[in-house]
Amino acid sequence: MVWRLKKHSVLPGFGLTLGFTVFYLSLIVLLPLTALCLKSTSMGWPQFWETVSHPRVLASCRLTFETAATAALINAVGGFIVAWCLVRYDFPLKRVFDAMVDLPFALPTAVSGIALTTIYASSGWIGQWFAPWDIKLVYSRWGIIIAMTFIGLPFVVRTLQPALEDLEKENEEAAACLGASRWQTFRFVIWPTIIPALLTGFAMAFARGLGEYGSIVFISGNMPMKTEIASLLIITKLEQHDLAGATAIAVILLVSSFVLLLCINLLQWWSSERVRGVA
């Protein structure tokens, strides 16, 4: 066997299209990302560590991770129920609700930011109900969680919907015929099948929350050490011409989202392996 880079094909245009693809990809994506990597390595480990271990940076990273995890958890629960209802039940305006799930993708983040701030402010539609109890929803951790939940919702719902649609009714019927209660069927037949999709959705919502900026700057209040998220700290450092500091935080964000991406790919591989194992 002759080892070749490309299998023979009668179709034309391979060189042209692949060449253009690689060129454009390198220019727009790879070159800038390489610049980021080189910039961070040129800093040297001690300087990197010094920047990253600064209390303000640590506080912002901790806040970002905690709020993103909380929001992803809320989305995992809420999004699961929403996806379940959209796939399995009929209710009025179901198609409209279904289409609306994509709104956080379509609505620019700045718009959702100012809208959420207005709603949850102490004079807003929802915030006024919490004001008498002295619960501040905006300019606090809660505001960040609200914004991240809004942003992450479609990821969970849209990942779960196909998984729920693919469930075979026969398995549930078999379980019911064998005397399982509805809860047992759910717990032992449905739940194990959809858990990879749920975890994938969770990871995607978490990753999106980590990097989110637009909707959060309006609602968080941006108080250093308290409600300052990592993305905002990057911008603050840039405005102070601290390019190295900004790069260091960017590297943390980038590495965590790559790790999450890897987790998502592993989860998808796991679920496809399981499907193959069953079939």
Partner: protein, 295 residues
């Protein structure tokens, strides 16, 4: 497709194939209130706040010269970035879907990369390249060119964040459709270009449109990345979302929400178009003959 209306005929044994009705009702009520709370209310509030002081104030907010220049800049940025990524998306999907070559899955992963990069970081990488202290900073400065805090930077950042949209919608569909139709066209004497134009493109046109819709929405609404590179120069490098931010931070809420309502309208149009096109894609893939699907 199994219908959710799984009613048993009377007199037969009832198997627990459906949740009890109180569970169904409470779950549905929960989802509807969750969606209304998180999705409908924010959308409604944009329009009520924009029209709070009447239509006159709303109109004044939109027709303000700085708002108008923000709109023009956004249209320019979209006009450059969407066609670029459309051409790239088509070229990439032709190469990836129609040929087998080494390193293909790596290439697909790399194309998806911009989705994994947070918006602020996407802006930062261009500052590192073209900023004054960046790689090409001194060189650009010597030629009197400005990329960062100028329109080219805004365009570059937008191209980066919208990079994968067309490609990732078109690649799976083209892969599913295989190469048989193209081979037939070539055998019948069509040129490569004719084959692409008359055979391949019509087969994937809804996926292309879908990708363009998503790409357009993101390009118009991108905030984080653009905010880093634009420098917020009023009337010059402000796109619509940045203009919204400035108005909002100046406590000019009516104008901010008026301009924001344009973006909200765009989001609604996007959702409707997306739903319609999705139905088309579903229709065209289910009507495909199974013989054209290759593993």
């Amino acid at each position: 497709m199994t219908s959710s209306k799984q009613r048993m005929a009377p007199g037969r044994m009832m198997l627990p194939l459906q949740e009890p009705s109180w569970v169904r009702w409470s779950l549905t009520a929960f989802s509807c209130s969750f969606l209304i709370l998180f999705l409908v209310v924010p959308l409604v509030v944009v329009f009520t706040e924009a029209l709070r002081k009447g239509f006159g104030a709303y109109w004044a907010g939109i027709t303000d010269p700085t708002a108008w220049s923000a709109i023009k800049l956004t249209v320019l940025v979209v006009g450059i970035s969407v066609p670029l990524n459309l051409v790239f998306g088509l070229a990439a999907s032709w190469a990836i879907a129609k040929f087998e070559f080494w390193g293909k899955s790596l290439l697909i992963t790399l194309i998806d990369l911009p989705f994994a990069v947070s918006p602020v970081v996407s802006g930062l990488i261009f500052v590192l390249l073209f900023g004054i202290h960046g790689w090409f900073g001194t060189w650009l400065d010597a030629w009197g060119l400005q990329v960062i805090f100028a329109v080219p930077g805004v365009v570059l950042a937008t191209v980066f964040v919208t990079f994968p949209f067309v490609a990732r919608e078109v690649i799976p569909l083209m892969q599913e459709q295989g190469t048989e139709q193209e081979q037939a066209a070539l055998t019948l004497g069509a040129s490569g270009w004719q084959t692409f134009w008359y055979v391949t493109l019509p087969n994937v046109r809804w996926a292309v449109l879908y990708g363009v819709i998503l790409c357009n929405a993101r390009a118009m609404g991108e905030f984080g990345a653009v905010s880093v590179v634009s420098g917020h120069i009023r009337g010059k490098t402000n796109t619509i979302p940045l203009h919204v931010e400035i108005l909002y931070n100046e406590y000019n809420f009516v104008a901010a929400f008026a301009v924001a309502s344009l973006l909200a309208l765009l989001a609604l149009v996007t959702l409707v178009a997306k739903t319609l096109v999705e139905r088309r894609i579903h229709f065209s893939t289910t009507s495909l003959e199974p013989t054209t699907v290759e593993s």
